[in-house]
Symmetry: C2
Subunit: 356 residues, 2 copies
DNA sequence: TTGAAAGCGCTAACAC
DNA sequence: GTGTTAGCGCTTTCAA
């Protein structure tokens, strides 16, 4: 015996014959055309109800040239940030009667382009692309070359062909600088990933500019790993080792991205340093766990909902034929100063205690 | 001037006329049929190359009745677990030439059913459903009623209509029990969410059975919140307050799900308790951050890759016509005992120190 | 107010 | 070996 056999679904013709009208009329009724005789419309509704009929959206799109599908390409799905982003985008697409098809580029530009090509094959109406690196990658070039409609988000600054939406990293980083300087930090280490060039640069520059403005002789060290997280671990290790030899050590670390914050914490662990007594820490990107640890980790919160909402707004404006030069949008972040930040010089386990 | 106008993509007919053959021949060449004259095949390849032609997968599926699309429905996208799951499933689907379309049910059974109906409208070849609650929800019923092909994962035990794949929660929980009992814990609190009935029950029973087997008079308290995380916070608060009045307190907490671990940590914070000196903690579900905090949090690691791989295997077996009664598969977990677990009675900040 | 006809881009039968 | 024909399920002229 065949197990769970998929029965043929009723088509528009089944509805038509049951209602005693043509398929064209059914289509009109379902599309809300008002020129249909009420009596016939009712018969159609009855038939639809009885048969449990539902339009096949793909067949429908087939005829209409533009498909009601939005493609979303994210660097990864594993983090809270992109998880929330996909979730938001999905809801926003649905609200407009579109389906979101999400794909992960797995932090690879090569794959990003492949995935984008697939989206193009699917003839999606538009694409929300969060590039692996920045707006100058091969994927954006592909979109341009193929006349695709799209919006670039997150790791982008501005583009001459596509609208962009991202967090205002520079402003947030300036605020972090103000906070750290205000607490008395004069030697700060900034760590980041060079791959995410667009935003890392903005964050670094925003931080440095404000810090130097407030205290011209502040010392800012920078440790950047080109494209992988693991090397950063080694670089950071070396950095602290060398500093130890010279008897110097930064009093605060600002990590420009989430994994960097984890790497920093893990390096602190290894050395037995505690926040904020031995060293202060602020990370770009918030996560749920950061509030429940000892100490709670200070973080820059990206406005995921706002970015998603803006992205969809501008994307649909383009889909609906909106014209004009592309705009670069920046959404403000929130900076949450939590217990991982204290004042330097208070010495191990002495001041700013957080263990009541 | 119209900005970025999408040019019409070349169709199979464009390729056909350029190669001087019929559309059917092009289709055959591209499908790898070997009966085509090599010379013509070459002309087709040349034309494809020249025009940058790519098959429209949706149009192709339209004709072939079964669409090469797999639907994946997850309770949420925000957590590491489901993020990894979607990522894995996406890769596995691609390997077989299918596209994964993922949707979030947002922990709502009502939405889960709607999303599933949409998948059905899309006529997906199969569905990987991670139900909000368990295998008896309305979504599984819908799948059954509509003869859909699918596999149930994660929050499921066994089903009479669909294959299921999940982590072996009971075995892992038994191991947690063995570890805690071994360390000398005799009063343990277990917290969970009633909504995830299927697995919570398995985890609870597995834990309790083993603990009682090892130490018949062990005390196991249970705090379950019906369906929301927030009430759990309040319940936990009350539980500890009441215990304090009587001067008793569990020496270890086992959280049956990730958010519960966060709630527990946050409650410990509020009371100024530290792990493992004041209380031990083990959580079901691991996360990257758990290794870099002080202390590192002990956790049960679910075998995401294995679950995804098994799910896709059994799903495609069904899609390819595989018959026979549904099977319930359990994949073994790993239990990582980290510093958040110590021995009871060593008193605050006295033993099992983790601050070298 | 309605339905017949013509496809969207593709593939599977079936002739030739 | 290859092309013709006939659709998949739907929408949209356009003529009646």
């Amino acid at each position: 015996m065949a197990h769970r056999q998929a029965q043929r679904r009723s088509s528009i013709h089944d509805v038509a014959s049951r209602a005693g009208v043509s398929a064209a009329t059914v289509s009109k009724v379902l599309a809300g055309v008002t020129t249909v005789k009420p009596e016939n419309a009712q018969r159609v509704f009855d038939a639809v109800e009885h048969l449990g009929y539902r339009v096949d959206p793909l067949a429908s799109d087939m005829r209409r040239a533009k498909r009601r599908i939005i493609g979303a390409i994210m660097p990864e799905f594993e983090s809270e940030f992109f998880g929330q982003m996909v979730s938001e985008l999905e809801g926003l697409a649905e609200q407009r009667g579109y389906t979101l098809v999400a794909a992960s580029s797995r932090e690879s530009e090569a794959r990003e382009k492949e995935v984008l090509a697939r989206m193009h094959d699917w003839r999606v109406a538009g694409v929300v692309l969060a590039p692996v690196r920045n707006e100058h990658g091969p994927a954006a070039g592909f979109m341009k070359a193929n006349g695709m409609t799209g919006v670039l988000i997150d790791r982008v600054l501005a583009d001459d062909a596509f609208d962009t939406v991202s967090a205002d990293s520079a402003a947030a980083s300036a605020e972090v600088a103000r906070e750290l300087i205000g607490k008395g930090h004069r030697h700060i280490l900034v760590i980041g990933l060079g791959q995410q060039a667009a935003t890392v640069r903005a964050r670094l520059d925003g931080f440095r500019a404000k810090a130097l403005e407030l205290v011209p002789d502040v010392r800012i060290d920078v440790v950047l790993s080109e494209s992988e997280v693991e090397p950063l671990r080694a670089l950071l290790h070396d950095y602290f080792d060398k500093g130890a030899k010279r008897g110097e050590r930064p009093t605060a670390v600002y990590s420009l991205f989430l994994k960097g914050t984890l790497v920093a914490l893990s390096e602190f662990r290894r050395r037995g340093w505690h926040c904020p007594d031995d060293i202060s820490l602020v990370g770009f990107d918030d996560a749920e766990w950061m509030q429940v640890t000892w100490p709670a980790i200070a973080a820059v919160v990206q406005p995921v909902r706002q970015i998603a909402a803006q992205a969809m707004d501008v994307l649909f404006a383009r889909i609906d034929g909106g014209d004009g030069p592309p705009k670069a949008r920046l959404e403000p972040c929130k900076v949450l100063m939590r217990e991982s930040v204290g004042s330097p010089g208070s010495g191990p386990h002495s001041g700013g205690g957080n263990r009541q």
